[in-house]
């Protein structure tokens, strides 16, 4: 009988400890997602130029990270999260390309043109109107130039520049080697500077 009680007690203690650990990891994941979600949304939005779709992609990436990778070390979450998000973005762009081809075949226009960068522009409160206008224009120009980059250069640039991932983390997120990351990033910066010109700076 004592063995039975002892065994059950051990089971309950293990359960309590596991419960505490789970709550801690949930809080940690919550903090991570809260920290990364806004930048991730803007990165997705700049890629696909549609805020609603970008929100859906970010939510998908969050759910997949929580479902499949929550037990991985927190230091791995950022590259893993962006790898999931980049895959979602690529899938979305492929589907959109097919959809656009079909639409063109049926004589309908490209719905990407519906994206209004002014409407989607952030609300820059507390600024003088002319300064706010300049900032919005500069960001719109940057977004437009980024959109013109080849996909891999775009990914490397945004992960390194906007998310602040190092070369190794970017390589994990992009699923390629560190040398490729350096090459894509360097070419992206060079291309953007040429496109935007000196006046942008």
């Amino acid at each position: 009988m004592n063995a039975c009680v002892a065994s059950f007690a051990v089971s309950c203690n293990a359960e309590d400890r596991t419960g505490v650990n789970t709550l801690q990891s949930e809080a940690k994941l919550n903090r991570f997602l809260a920290d990364v979600e806004k930048r991730a949304l803007r990165i997705a939005e700049i890629n696909i130029r549609d805020r609603d779709e970008a929100l859906d992609l970010v939510q998908d990436a969050m759910i997949k990270l929580a479902r499949n990778y929550a037990d991985r070390p927190a230091s791995e979450w950022t590259p893993l999260f962006y790898r999931i998000l980049q895959n979602r973005i690529r899938d979305w762009q492929r589907r959109q390309a097919v959809r656009n081809r079909v639409m063109v075949w049926f004589g309908k226009g490209n719905e990407d043109q519906d994206y209004d960068p002014v409407a989607a522009a952030p609300d820059l409160a507390g600024r003088a109107p002319d300064e706010e206008l300049q900032t919005r224009e500069a960001m719109q120009n940057l977004e437009a130039a980024i959109a013109e980059l080849p996909a891999r250069q775009r990914e490397a640039f945004m992960l390194r520049m906007f998310e602040g991932l190092d070369v190794a983390g970017t390589a994990v997120a992009m699923g390629c080697g560190e040398g490729s990351v350096k090459t894509h990033y360097s070419r992206a910066v060079h291309s953007l500077r040429e496109t935007l010109g000196e006046h942008w700076q």
Binding site: C4, L142, R193, Q201
Partner: protein, 130 residues
Amino acid sequence: MNERNDVTAEDEFAEKAKQLFDESVDGLDGETLSRLNRSRHAALAELDKGRAAWIRWAPATGVAAAAVMAVIVWTGVPGVDDLSAPAVVTDMEILLTEDSLEMLEDLEFYSWIEFSEDTDEALEPANNVG
């Protein structure tokens, strides 16, 4: 010299691009932030689902393990001859009683009685013939 200027210009470009991006992140509207918040909680609910499944089965698993342990403790380890221990105890009791020791001393006498009884039983049917 040109290379140094180029690096400086590149740094300035990077700084401005990062600053613009950060401002656009900070300027996200309330509705968007609310949707992000809901998305995050939907993701965290996935953790609860996994944990709920584990917790649902944990008590049953614990009770089952305890029951198996109890059965093992009370019935002994399977594979051991269950009769061997009581049989040894019985033999020892017989050997240690005084009567048994006396019986051992007259063992030849009891053997002779048993033999003669068997012989009588064997001869009886032959004697009854006729």
